[in-house]
Symmetry: C2
């Protein structure tokens, strides 16, 4: 009989929750619109009722939650910019009261890092960094097999490294952050903000609001401007990974989401730029890997893993 | 009876070694010119003979060594730019063979961090970063009370964060590193490289080769150009500390050496710039402290501490 845990991935748009066993097999999974729940308590009630219907409640050994700006120490979601509940939301205590079980909460990238460590690209690794690419850039740092939380529980915000002093305005209100350049949103901004003589003749100029998939598609069809955008985006990320080496000297960076899912030679390009920019003692040492958990729900899996660890 | 350990701080210019007890009291200390020893083996012999004279050899429970570019895992000094022995020097095995005792080697900033943890500003802290300011900028990161070594043993090179893309050439051969701006050497470079209308009327223009102490002295006498240099240097370091928060979210940064010893309002200025540049979740959380171990030999103390831990 395998142990079962509830893993929950709360995002600004959707919340996915699943019951997972300690081998990483999904027993049950459901997705609900986060915004359809007016209060955090209503979301928690909804999850409780759903599991109750399937008589799964009694079998859970605990609940793991991944949320944006999740604080492992406090169990709160703190000022998450893309979620409709503002300020501090004490999810850990709300869940614990409703479910009367152990609840562990962390940020979504840390949860994904735990998923990689247990079931993905990082099995057997002691030191690695999980980078999530999407609307923003998130990161989960693992050192000696454990998530780095820091003093206040908020370590690992690689997306907000300043890579261009006084550069692009970031969603966080500051300027020049990595995620303003190398997230999917940042890549899309480059359509407007990158100078190029090939812009006018690019297929991207014929699309009203091109998204990152359009850019990748145009790149695959050898569109020159799209190629410049991809090169620029990857160059910015590669340089930032060289900076990350100075901090944690990891065995590997594992990329999850966004254009990491696209069929482009991303790891080769990133390795080139990272090693070119890296301090000599770090050159050609760290791997760059694409998460093998894109088809599973890595965030739910990782959140559940928090319970098993 | 207290335990005794030999702590050794090997630098490009001098090597200081001392016998320290587990309360941090120095029982014996000696300094020798590193360059006066043609080979690493000759330095090790010299230390052995010196301790032998004072009949201290039999009392040692181990040896801790701090060296530039020291690798904790391999026990080697790897390509240290300012030491006259080039390439890889296997100090751990040379010492172990000669002394027939336990030898632990790490980089000098990590050793200093251990000293702070055991006897200095970081007593009782779980998460902090020690920053050494001198010819370069070094750092030792402590997470959960343990030094962060990373996969290859070389984590924590904050001095080589890229803070100005394509900026000043650094001693490492790359451009725009923090230490090219915020080390003592970087501060001195600003005398030449910083534009100012006050340069000609500054007392610094009357000194043939001003050093960082001259700049601090001129600053204390309200020299406008010297004030601009200090402001610029501290601003660069403060911005970089804001980046460091994104990685390790420490309780405090502890500054050791160089202008951290000078009687200037360094911590207030740094706190201002760091918090202004920091991501909201990190603002006004981390302390900035000056090491209280400047009068003791923190590097020797820290190296010896490696043995006690």
């Amino acid at each position: 009989m395998h142990k079962l845990a509830l893993g929950i991935d709360i995002g600004g748009t959707n919340t996915t929750f699943g019951v997972v066993n300690d081998r990483g097999d999904s027993v049950f999974e459901h997705t609900t619109s986060t915004r359809s729940h007016d209060t955090p308590e209503q979301l928690v009630d909804f999850i409780y009722q759903t599991l109750s219907k399937y008589t799964l409640l009694d079998q859970l050994c605990g609940i793991g939650i991944g949320v944006p700006n999740g604080n492992f120490y406090t169990g709160n979601m703190e000022y998450a910019p893309n979620v409709h509940w503002q300020g501090i939301v004490p999810f850990r205590s709300i869940f614990a009261e409703k479910f009367q079980t152990t609840v562990i909460l962390t940020n979504d990238a840390n949860a994904a890092a735990m998923g990689e460590l247990q079931f993905g690209a990082a099995v057997g690794m002691q030191h690695f960094v999980l980078i999530t690419i999407g609307t923003g850039i998130g990161s989960g740092i693992v050192e000696n097999g454990r998530i780095v939380y820091g003093h206040n529980g908020m370590a690992g915000e690689y997306g907000h490294l300043c890579v261009v002093p006084n550069g692009r305005l970031c969603a966080c209100g500051r300027r020049g952050c990595l995620e303003a350049y190398a997230s999917c949103t940042g890549m899309v901004r480059s359509v407007q903000e990158l100078d190029s003589q090939h812009k006018k003749t690019s297929v991207l100029s014929t699309i009203e609001h091109p998204n990152s998939k359009d850019i990748v598609e145009a790149y695959k069809h050898n569109d020159t401007f799209a190629t410049e955008i991809i090169d620029f985006t990857v160059h910015m990320l590669g340089n930032a990974l060289a900076d990350c080496l100075c901090f944690s000297d990891p065995q590997a960076f594992i990329l999850f989401g966004g254009y990491a899912r696209a069929d482009i030679p991303l790891t080769d390009m990133l390795l080139y730029h990272m090693n070119k920019a890296a301090l000599k003692v770090y050159q050609n040492k760290a791997d760059i890997l694409i998460s093998p958990l894109h088809d599973k729900n890595a965030a739910v899996l990782g959140a559940a893993t928090l319970v098993f660890n």
